[in-house]
């Protein structure tokens, strides 16, 4: 390949990442299979919690953040599982790996795509949540929690999903691998969401935001470095 100036290389890299994201979005926009399934699933989880926990008015305020995040994580595994399993089943993973692109660009493309899917689901279910639970969920800070929480989840989830697609029991393996390592993320997100709902001060909220950001930074970096070894052959 011709040596190119650094700025050119960066914009090339970003174009590759954008192309992969666009590919996933375009194929989803045509079929609309995954997103509709994710939204319905998220709503079902919410309803089931409502029955299982007997959510009266006072309990609702306390557990709404927990219900929101558990629904998000469960729904997220659906998207993550599909995102890479589909590539493998259709044989397009080999095509992507043969393309003359940086492997990390492939990772970022897939991870950002998964992040976007989770965010799209959130955009749909947050207003519904606001109505169902009668709580102000559409605050800027709340949206920031959603952004940061789902970022870390998509980052680790994409890496682990690329492991389990080769496993024999792949449909059941992803949550088993993913949930234990995302516990800190869940705790921080639930605490931050709950704090924002209860109108906590920034001093109370900031440790959880720091934890969210720290988790995101550490795991995006780790997943970015390790992904290369996953797709090595």
């Amino acid at each position: 390949m011709r040596p190119s100036p650094p700025a050119n290389r960066v914009s090339h890299y970003l174009r590759v990442v954008a192309a992969i994201i666009w590919k996933d979005l375009a194929s989803e926009l045509r079929s609309r299979e995954l997103l509709s399934a994710m939204v319905v699933f998220a709503l079902l989880v919410t309803l089931i919690f409502n029955f299982a926990l007997e959510l009266d008015r006072s309990a609702r305020q306390n557990v709404a953040a927990g219900v929101l995040w558990v629904a998000t994580l469960f729904t997220g595994t659906l998207g993550l599982n599909r995102s890479l399993a589909q590539e493998k089943d259709r044989g397009s993973l080999d095509g992507l790996l043969l393309a003359p692109i940086d492997r990390s660009a492939l990772y970022f493309g897939k991870a950002v795509g998964n992040w976007l899917f989770i965010l799209i689901v959130e955009v749909i279910i947050l207003p519904i949540f606001t109505i169902l639970f009668n709580l102000p969920l559409l605050l800027p800070l709340q949206l920031l929690v959603v952004l940061l929480g789902s970022l870390g989840y998509a980052a680790v989830g994409t890496l682990l999903a690329s492991l389990v697609i080769h496993s024999r029991a792949r449909d059941v393996m992803l949550p088993i691998l993913l949930f234990p390592v995302t516990v800190p993320l869940l705790i921080a997100a639930v605490r931050a969401s709950g704090g924002v709902l209860a109108g906590a001060s920034w001093a109370e909220l900031s440790p959880w935001f720091n934890l969210l950001i720290g988790y995101d930074v550490i795991f995006v970096a780790a997943a970015f470095m390790l992904f290369e070894f996953v797709v090595e052959e």
Binding site: S167, L177, V181, I187, F219, L226
Partner: protein
Amino acid sequence: MSKASRPVQILNLVTAVLMLAMLYLVFFYAPLEKTMGEVQRIFYVHVPSAWLSFVAFGVTAVCGGLYLWLKRPMLDIVANASVEIGLVFTVMTLASGSIWAYPAWNTWWTWDPRLTTYTIMALIYVAYVMLRQGLDDPQRRARFASVYGIIGFISVPITFMSIRWWRTIHPVVIGGSAESAQGKFAMTDPMVVTLLFANLAFIFLFVSLLISRVRLAQLGERVEQLKARLLAA
């Protein structure tokens, strides 16, 4: 190959002697603790097995990293052996902790940060074992297990920190302890000696088990090779 080499036999013997000596110290040398009585003696098994489980999982993460770099199959065998032994120590820690907790805290289990973190860590490594079982290709299994071993090990301290920000009742006998801790006690010199000796004995136990487990894996591989040769002939 069928018999362990001389140095390994000697090591195993030393380990056995040290474990017996440790039991003697625990039951006859260490003084009776004033408030908790005999049950406190379980501390000398609980603490060494707890910290050696961390060492074992650390060995797995380091061997995983080295495997990804050097691609020596031996490193993967050691990583896997270390996880299995780490899980044995984890179960010992949880069991001995529960037995101690019932008289000391009046409950077998509590959702305390340390207990919860520790259990999540155990689940991470159970998932590690399950991931390995689902993968047939040895090289891919080694690479994927290395990746997950590293991700899992990074997440453990973050999980611990995140849960620690809630209040804890687990006593911190070595180093500072929270005001709310229940069942803490001051260690006298014979207690310190016993604990240190128990740690030494457990280090020998860990190394002995690790060597034996690696040998078992090598013998297993040899059996597979012989089978393959027999079938080919």
